[in-house]
Point group: none
Chain length 303, copies 2
Amino acid sequence: MPLNALFKPRSRLQIQTDQTLTQHKPKYNTKSARSRQHTDLRFAVLEARLEQADLLKKVVDAIKDLVQDCNFDCNDSGIALQAMDNSHVALVSMMLKAESFSPYRCDRNVALGVNLTSLTKVLRAASSEDILTIKAEDAPDVLNLVFESSESDRLSEYDLKLMDIDQEHLGIPDTEYAATISMPSADFRKICQDLMLLSESVSIEASKDGVKFTCAGDIGNGAVTLRSHTNVDKPDLNVDIELTEPVALTFSLKYLVNFCKAAGLSKSVKLCLSNEVPLLVEYALAGNSYLRFYLAPKIGDDE
Amino acid sequence: MPLNALFKPRSRLQIQTDQTLTQHKPKYNTKSARSRQHTDLRFAVLEARLEQADLLKKVVDAIKDLVQDCNFDCNDSGIALQAMDNSHVALVSMMLKAESFSPYRCDRNVALGVNLTSLTKVLRAASSEDILTIKAEDAPDVLNLVFESSESDRLSEYDLKLMDIDQEHLGIPDTEYAATISMPSADFRKICQDLMLLSESVSIEASKDGVKFTCAGDIGNGAVTLRSHTNVDKPDLNVDIELTEPVALTFSLKYLVNFCKAAGLSKSVKLCLSNEVPLLVEYALAGNSYLRFYLAPKIGDDE
DNA sequence: TTACTTGGTT
DNA sequence: AACCAAGTAA
């Protein structure tokens, strides 16, 4: 079931799937071809400094296989990104709050249409320890990224061309989930990777004192059960389950494994489930920022 | 611009490019087909022992994609190799001095025409830690390579058939370069690899206190600036610039990335630039040996 | 196409 | 030193 059936598009009709699929080649903004020397002289509407370039590298790494092109929507509260994958089964929602930067300034709302493959190429040039500053002008045709090595003996500056992206924006309702599971992100990744060797889909079953991941495939069946438990010394390793009613839903493992690329961003992951509603997989980041993935459940014959 | 226009051929006219291109299939010497058992009984004109087979492996790895067949010119001072790539834009010049071997003996000048792909196959059999001895007879039709494991519990012996190679030999003039840059070879490799994702060519701009590598491509522009700095503790990481006048030249990144395969041979690399003259990329090896690459700059419309 | 080996990165 | 990616060989 596509996500659109579960989330209502906020402003426009669903994008033609064909159109989405043929958008592989970036179509860059064709405004005046300003030479890069002029960048500094124009007024930067956005300027955001990230102590660790690593954060953006990992975020983009985690979503670039789901989404090719998308807008980074910047305003004074931070940088947001929302995009569906081509098949409209998964949705990525990223929020990098202003508090995650030091400093952060955005004088005017601006949408930066970025091809994530190109952004990956640029970010590859940043070492994880580099300090990253991103800048954009008003009505920008490039995104400016500056990497400084911590010893500041190297300074790399890249201008990434931007594109106009016609983006569907879904309204994501605030949901009271029937079950909310917190668990170590590495464990969730391991479970999904292990079960994917047996089957294409996994059933996640939340009950009062545990979560059970089960799958059935040609070569056999698998089931991993985690019991909720708390260790005050290592809260990252806690398995915590909040439940209003028991839930069992089935999801595509391919997507879950994909989401798990974000495991490097946070020691802990939160899974939120309710019947008839997409699964929410949330990685909390420092400064109230987050990376969220939504995945429509498989229902009926889909399984 | 081909290198021939910048370096004068020393003794013969330029090889027909077609001829060079059709020499892909090794044409082996067709002297008497002596059986390998006799090798030991004949007088070895050349005998050179290398403590680390690794050195030769890395050298050959670094040049085998540029050059298919070439002569190893051996005399009592060492083993030299000089060859242009097929397109005559790049030139490799290797010198393994006698001091780099222990021991080294060469009683008579001898040119060993080798197919580098074949040599790679043979060297693949050597583990990096092996002791390598190469031997050749007078007027040889094979090159004899012996690998001993350092524990000397394994002894591998290979005879590589040699070929007659009609080789152009360019005279490389001693140039006073306008700029000589020493920098960590790993950094140079990283910069070239990163920028290659954006563009086919890079401009290298040397000024008094820094080097700037810039490129412009379809997805955006990139610029990496290194400031010269010295750290007595880690001289390998120094960025040092000797300059008589500022220079800015443009080069093909494909070739530079290729040269950077040699980064494993030395922690440091030297870039020498002057206007109208090929770039020299030098990896210094132990015992005054070296591996040098020359690359013709892109000029005018080439950029 | 898959598995392994090698090299690079953290 | 361990992990991850890419290239190569089967």
